[in-house]
Point group: C2
Chain length 150, copies 2
DNA sequence: TAATATAGTTAGTCCGGGCTAACTTTGCAA
DNA sequence: TTGCAAAGTTAGCCCGGACTAACTATATTA
């Protein structure tokens, strides 16, 4: 079984989309996955088959799509990573929200576990400082403005 | 002409390798590119052709490989991005050097221009603070140790 | 319940970018 | 100067992951 392998960037995206759609509201529909990932419906089918055979989702042709326990755990990690990066890009670097989102989408697949955990801690570190009245994002963004305008 | 297009991650790697090899010492040899990127010699040939037709390198079969002016400028940006990330991973997050290098290699291709410039500024910002006796990397790494050990 | 719209799948194609095997060119050493 | 090893190229293959077109299943609603 190829069950333990790393997922490709593309498969991570599918898994993440399924996670988001199924928690957002109801059921993850292939149509919506396609739409969210801006991909043809036909491409979704292939990805679903692969995810199913890696035992990350439960999937039968024309049936409902649900995450397995393994799938849910993995998806959660992926989503988490995404959020961390997004926070860093948006709140610390001050990148505009949709650009930050897009960057996070692209970058999230390349961080190894080492960098991910440290990055997570770093964001936590920054949040604490902020709670202590020391807003790093803000003071960087001041610096940034000076660079730009001044 | 496809001359203005974005390069794929893989082509960026080739360009970067050529840049490094030709500044490191002498001439960028296909053999060394292959070795550095851990790729078969045959794969290099294809990449060289593509880079040549995008006017980023001067290349004739069996000839020397040199960067064009455009190629050099672009390669420089790529190398720069790599260094910035590497600094951030190693000096700020405290990731061990070779792991930081590897992460930088994977991540560098996904940062858009917006994030890249801000990231560059962020690293500069941190350096300044460090010069002022406020070492963010160090204080984060203290925090990190507490998380781990404490 | 039958007709049709919508969702999903299949088949077949393409493209990037790897690979190996076999061939050609180049360059060094006898 | 020739003769062989090393470097480079070509041809042909594979794989992942997109696509379109055409088909099938499902759902809606008249």
């Amino acid at each position: 079984m190829t069950v333990h392998d790393q997922l490709s960037a593309s498969l991570e995206d599918y898994l993440e989309a399924i996670y988001n759609l199924s928690s957002d509201n109801r059921i993850a529909r292939a149509k919506d996955i396609a739409c969210q990932l801006r991909v043809a419906r036909a491409s979704v089918t292939g990805a679903l088959r692969t995810l199913a055979q890696r035992e990350l989702i439960n999937y039968k042709p024309y049936g409902y799509i649900t995450l397995t326990e393994r799938g849910r755990r993995l998806a959660w990690k992926i989503v988490r990573r995404h959020q961390i990066l997004n926070y860093f890009f948006a709140q610390v670097l001050g990148v505009e929200t949709t650009a930050a989102q897009e960057a996070a989408c692209r970058t999230e697949h390349t961080l190894g576990p080492e960098v991910t955990t440290r990055m997570t801690a770093f964001v936590e570190f920054i949040r604490r400082k902020q709670a202590d009245g020391q807003d790093l994002g803000q003071s960087f963004q001041q610096f940034w403005s000076l660079l730009r305008e001044g």
